[in-house]
Symmetry: C2
Subunit: 234 residues, 2 copies
Amino acid sequence: MRYELYYWPEIQGRGEYVRLALEEAGAAYVDVAREGNGTPKMLRVMEQGGTPPFAPPFLKAGKLVIGQTANILLYLGARHSLAPKTEAGKLWLHQLQLTIADFVLEIHDTHHPLGPSLYYEDQKAPAKRRSEAFWNERVPKYLGYFERILKDGGGTYVTGRRVSYVDLSLFQIIDGLRYAFPKRMTAFEDAVPGLLELRDRVAARPNIKAYLASDRRIPFNESGIFRRYKELDA
Amino acid sequence: MRYELYYWPEIQGRGEYVRLALEEAGAAYVDVAREGNGTPKMLRVMEQGGTPPFAPPFLKAGKLVIGQTANILLYLGARHSLAPKTEAGKLWLHQLQLTIADFVLEIHDTHHPLGPSLYYEDQKAPAKRRSEAFWNERVPKYLGYFERILKDGGGTYVTGRRVSYVDLSLFQIIDGLRYAFPKRMTAFEDAVPGLLELRDRVAARPNIKAYLASDRRIPFNESGIFRRYKELDA
């Protein structure tokens, strides 16, 4: 079976967490919206009856249409050995991914504190205040939490010896923060040595390395979640 | 087995989605932080090694400690007939709950657009702008989506004849919006007749009715997700 991934074609965004899992797994998939006429096709799926997703990304797996990033990873993790096999292990990993999802939303809100309906240019002052609070309190809290879990686990990856979809997502978080906030991240990152090592370990995995070097990896840009705005990186 | 629910004792907050599921199921549980010395006990669980939750709510089920509201509901749904039995049905319901979780975060951000680190009083002007955009674009989008799903399904509840944890959560969303934004919600709610009926259907279920009349149901207040601030309800 070839999966179909549906996501906005111009950005990494939330789709990237799914792409990383599919690539690590070596799964066959099409990134539908990046093909000719793909975006209208994606929008049609969202307008259909039955079980339409609220928003991209979503994954077609045979007859299944699965929406919500963490839900897609829950599904893929079980099928491609990117999650533990026990129920307790699965719930734990999914819990971590949902915490990453919360963090991703807070990252997005650094440039969109007044919500997704207004342009960045119309919310620059609140974005500055939110970015300040984000770096003072939220980054240390979230990344400190993951650093502690890595250290307590004592393993190579968050659940031990095997890579999981959460490790792939943490790679993306570290690289994204480095892209969007180069100064702030440089000043901060000594506090999370375990996460930096994890990031390098993921980047060196053969399938991920090949993916990152390919044109399937969309570069970071100022339409995605991680945006480099100098004024927010004071 | 008696479940232990851990959540802040003074608010409904995200814990309420779990309470509603436990109450509908008639499950035996203790709301730990509402008992003597409960909050320090809760904080100790979060500081422990192993698989500590990032934040409340979390549920102890025997040896399992499960964090993240939607993850807890995924677990309870399968055990207490509050979710379909098929994999496709489970994934679909969980997807809807994750969309509700996104909406809940946007509801929270109407009064905290600059993030959870600052007081409401320090972000009143951006809160007004965010609330305006929220009611103009986000409420119609989210509630319109759930209204459409209900109608397309043609059933009594979102997945058909049987109540699910998503129905319970939608009850909470409708009641919360009525509490926090009485004027705006009155003006809006004719647009979602199916959701209003669903809300009444849930409220009339014997276990939910008994719960809402009990002192286990914490009243809405201005420390929770749904806060009544006159200036945001223009």
